[in-house]
Symmetry: C2
Subunit: 161 residues, 2 copies
C-alpha cells in the first residue's frame, strides 16, 4: 500500500494512512461525509478537503471508483471484486449488489459492434427492495391517513405500486 503510493510519486502521511484504512474498513458505497465522520472518530483534526482529496486519490490509483446514482451524492466503491451492478432502493436508500458478468458481456459485444472502446459499465436497477415492499404492503393494509393528494401524486396519476 505505502509502496503503491510511493512508486506513483505520492507521499505517505498520517492523515492519508488513516483515511485509506478507514475507507477500506467501511467498504462499499462510501460517501465523503461518511468517510469524514469515520475518520474524525479517530482524529478530530483531519480536514474535510483532505478526506475528499484522498478519496479522489484512491480512485486515481485504481483502488476505488465513483458510483453515481443521481441522488446528488457521489459514492466510492472498492474495485476489489468482479464487475457488479447495483440495485438501489428508493425507499430505504440502500444499495444491493448483483453479479453483472453476463450483463457486461452482452454490453461489451454491443460496444464492439459500434467500434466503441468501453472503459466502464454502469448497470443499475432502481426500484423498491423486498423489505420495503413488505413494509408498504403492511402500511396499505392499515390504511393511509386521510391526507389529500400531493402535487406529485396528481402528476403521476395512480401510484405505480
Amino acid at each position: 500500500m505505502k509502496e503503491l503510493l510511493k512508486t506513483k510519486g505520492f507521499k505517505m502521511t498520517p492523515q492519508r494512512e488513516l483515511i485509506f484504512s478507514a475507507f477500506f474498513e467501511l467498504g462499499e458505497h462510501v460517501s465523503v461525509d461518511e468517510l469524514y465522520a469515520k475518520v474524525r472518530e479517530v482524529d478530530e483534526s483531519v480536514g474535510y478537503s483532505t478526506v475528499w482529496r484522498n478519496l479522489k486519490l484512491i480512485c486515481r490509483v485504481g483502488l476505488a471508483e465513483e458510483v453515481n446514482i443521481g441522488d446528488g451524492v457521489t459514492r466510492y466503491d472498492r474495485v476489489t471484486h468482479d464487475p457488479h451492478g447495483h440495485l438501489y432502493c428508493r425507499e430505504c436508500k440502500q444499495f444491493f449488489e448483483f453479479d453483472s458478468e453476463a450483463v457486461v458481456d452482452l454490453m461489451s459485444a454491443v460496444a464492439d459492434r459500434q467500434g466503441f472502446r468501453p472503459e466502464g459499465f454502469k448497470v443499475e436497477i432502481d426500484g423498491v427492495c423486498r423489505q420495503c415492499l413488505r413494509k408498504s404492503k403492511k402500511d396499505n393494509r392499515n390504511g393511509r391517513s386521510g391526507r389529500s393528494r400531493t402535487d406529485a401524486e396528481k402528476a403521476s396519476g395512480q401510484a405505480k405500486g
Copy 2:
C-alpha cells in the same frame, strides 16, 4: 397534449406550450440550459425556473425521464422509444444509444430473483467512440508535444488513451 395536461389538473400557458414543443424538437438528452437557450430564441422573457419546472413536469406526466451520467448535469430524454442504453464518449461528450432489450430482460430476471421491484434500468457504457479513437490514433502518430506528465497522468500510470 393540452388534453393530457388538463386531465392531470395542469393549466396550459403560452410559456408551457413553447417549452414543451421546444423540448420535443430538441429530442434527445436535453439539458436545462440547452432547452432554456432554445426557448429564449423564441421568447426572451421566459424565465429559467419556468423552463426547469416544466422539464420536471414533462417527466412527471411520463413524457421524459432524467438521465444522469455523473458529469454533473442532468439531462432529459424522451420516453418515446424502446428501452435503450447509452454509450457515452468521454472525449467528445456525445451520447450514442443502443437497444437494451436483451440487457434489460436479463436484469429483470436478476431483480425478480431478489424480490426487488424494478422501476427503472440504467445501462451505460462509458468509453471512447469510434471517431475519437480514430482521431487519437492519428494524434499519436504525429507525436505528442514534449510537455511533462501531469499529476493525473502520474496517478493513473500509463495514459489509457
